[in-house]
């Protein structure tokens, strides 16, 4: 006999939901990374959430309030994340879970949400199959194939030989696989692949290896933050650009919040991604302006901050639709049909079938705008694009 986690928790969560139907305070558990080496990424989510709550926190039906509970998962630390999620569900009786930078953490939390019937809105963790782990998971961020696969197809037209360097964990493996598939199917040649440990800080040896293999381009994925900067600097220090090697990748490698730290080495780097602080949509302009007003003129929101904003918008939408009386299954129904034509990153919607995000993917180039580095959007490579990986790996 196989022991499933008991359904007791479901009963508890349901009774909590019923109990709170009269209370009208909706509790949202926010899990992000506040401490440890990767607190920078967590900070982006935190800033996006808090900005939304500050500006839109009152846009709720009369008598309805939200109470966010912020908790720290200390980094890519699945067991801590799982414990925190469990406590938020059992002890704080939250009606939503959101946040989560790291795929391993989200993968550890997802099964709990299936047991507890707590809607879980992922605001970053990109591992493609997480929504399949629980019917209560929806994702507003992205998957790596969503950007890496079209980039691969596009790169095959431009570059004959590519070297791939990715972070050694699930999202890295997915980015690598998706890029290579798109690239090879379109006729490109992969001259080498390296996987970099997640804790690595020195990219010089890896980039030297790339340089020695003499490709036309290097495809990179790393989990943003200071790793993105370190890799970019190594690219510049070793003068890979002068050796005729183009630096391309998913948007993580030129994340807006870090971009100014990277220096001129980043100029000309090409990425495919769903969000750029330099995007000239009106919704984005007002978002960036609000962000700068709140956190300082020098700071740019990165894609995680923008996604956190959207995640909160989605949650507020479903709270409004239910007038504060949250029913998990009805919530999921509403989420499946969520559309926002005017997000900072352009039109987005949730795919009713996979509960994953549908969005535009932009090809961007790092350029100087008003003396500052920016990811300038060149073209939309895919419009209202679903995660291609779920098409290639149909659920059985």
């Amino acid at each position: 006999m196989r022991l499933k986690l008991s359904t007791l928790i479901a009963v508890l969560a349901l009774s909590a939901a019923v109990g709170s139907a009269t209370a009208q305070t909706v509790k949202i558990g926010v899990i992000t990374t506040y401490s440890g080496p990767t607190a920078g990424q967590g900070d982006q989510l935190d800033k996006g959430f808090k900005l939304y709550l500050k500006l839109n926190g009152n846009k709720l039906p009369p008598g309805v309030k939200v109470e966010p509970i912020f908790r720290d998962d200390t980094g890519a630390n699945p067991d801590a994340a799982k414990r925190v999620a469990q406590e938020l569900i059992v002890r704080d009786k939250v009606q939503f879970l959101t946040g989560v930078v790291w795929t391993p953490n989200a993968a550890a939390i997802a099964p709990l949400t299936a047991e507890a019937h707590v809607p879980f809105i992922i605001a970053n963790a990109a591992g493609w199959n997480i929504p399949r782990m629980s019917d209560y998971v929806a994702r507003v961020s992205h998957t790596l194939p969503q950007s890496a696969y079209p980039l691969g197809k596009w790169a095959a037209k431009k570059f004959k030989r590519v070297y791939t360097v990715v972070a050694d964990f699930a999202p890295g493996h997915e980015a690598e696989a998706a890029f290579i598939k798109g690239y090879k199917d379109a006729g490109g040649e992969i001259v080498g692949s390296a996987r970099v440990p997640l804790a690595n800080t020195d990219f010089i040896p890896y980039m030297q290896r790339v340089k020695d293999a003499k490709p036309n381009a290097i495809f990179a994925f790393n989990p943003g933050g200071k790793q993105a900067t370190a890799q970019m600097k190594a690219f510049g220090d070793l003068e890979l650009g002068k050796a005729g090697i183009k630096y391309i990748g998913t948007g993580d490698i030129t994340a807006d919040e870090e971009l100014q730290n990277m220096g001129d080495a980043a100029l000309g780097v090409l990425t495919v991604h769903h969000y750029s602080a330099a995007g000239d949509r009106p919704a984005n302009k007002s978002f960036v302006a609000a962000y700068k007003k709140e956190y300082g003129e020098k700071l740019n929101p990165g894609y995680m901050a923008a996604v956190a904003w959207d995640a909160m918008d989605l949650i507020f939408h479903v709270i409004r639709e239910q007038k504060g009386k949250i029913d998990p299954d009805k919530t999921m129904q509403l989420i499946r049909n969520y559309k926002n034509p005017d997000s900072p990153r352009g039109p987005i919607q949730i795919d009713p079938e996979t509960r994953d995000i549908v969005q535009n993917e932009y090809l961007r180039e790092v350029r100087k705008v008003n003396g500052q580095l920016a990811n300038v959007e060149l073209e939309i490579v895919e419009t209202q694009y679903k995660d291609p990986w779920k098409e290639f790996n149909k659920a059985k």
Partner: protein, 323 residues
Amino acid sequence: MKHAGGYIADSRIRAIEWLPWAFALLCYYAAPSYLSLGSYILTMILFALSLDLILGYGGIITLGHSAYFGTGAYVAGIVAVRLTGEPLVGLLAGALAAGVLGLVTGMIILRTRGLALLMLTLAITSVCFEVANKATSLTGGADGLGGFSLLPILGLFRFDMFGKTAYLYCLAILFASWWLVRKLVYSPFGASLTGVRENNLRMHAVGAPVYQRLVASYTISATLAGLAGALLTQTTQFVGLNALGFQLSGELIVMLVLGGVGRIYGAFVGPLVYLVLQDYLAKRFPEYWYFGIGAMLVLVVLFARGGILGIIDAGILRLRRKS
């Protein structure tokens, strides 16, 4: 410092020693929504108890005890994924694997002392970390190992999501381990470890095979650490690389010293206070909770070397002197 054990110490269990157990059971009924934190605390108490055996009694400072904790955790996880969901099998396998690793590594490193020993423990846990990170097919690498489920314990008690079974399971294992450690501490073997800690050189001079005795205690300690790791895996149904990180070892020392070293119950008080405080601070100040932890450490070292139990001792002594 007041250490338990020795040739004139009364080894019978005093009434006050039942207090932690009564308290643990009380928590079970009084704070049902805190049981997952409770299970974690019980697990860390067991881990701290294992450290107390070598730090408090053997005098070995290690930054690498998580090597054994993590080994136990991963072996229990791998057993659950590949072999059987029977919890006791995973528990024993985890403890055994950690014990074997403890014996082998102990034999290698315990010939050194001081900084070299500290660094060797650190390096060993780092090697284990890298191995687990790389053996992705077995351990899941940086993504961790999850997605397994466990059978009811002895076919009777199912793990529930409230963490009730998990809590009592941890409590039972901790109780058994405590009983064993207590026996050891009050035995001639335990007394001889006290001698090693107090004066390594003199212990040689009275003809004690110090190295063999340290290896033996190290192995027992590693086994208990592995048991704790396996418990963590089974109660959270997940193992991540952090179980092998040296940060965990550092945190463990902090917890033990906070409670008081070399007196068994320091290992109970320290993790309880540390983790409850951390839980509270992390909720209140998710960005800055470690400032409080750091300040507490500095204060303990400057003003309360014996840890919390040391403060209590001093307080009792003062009261007695007054009366």
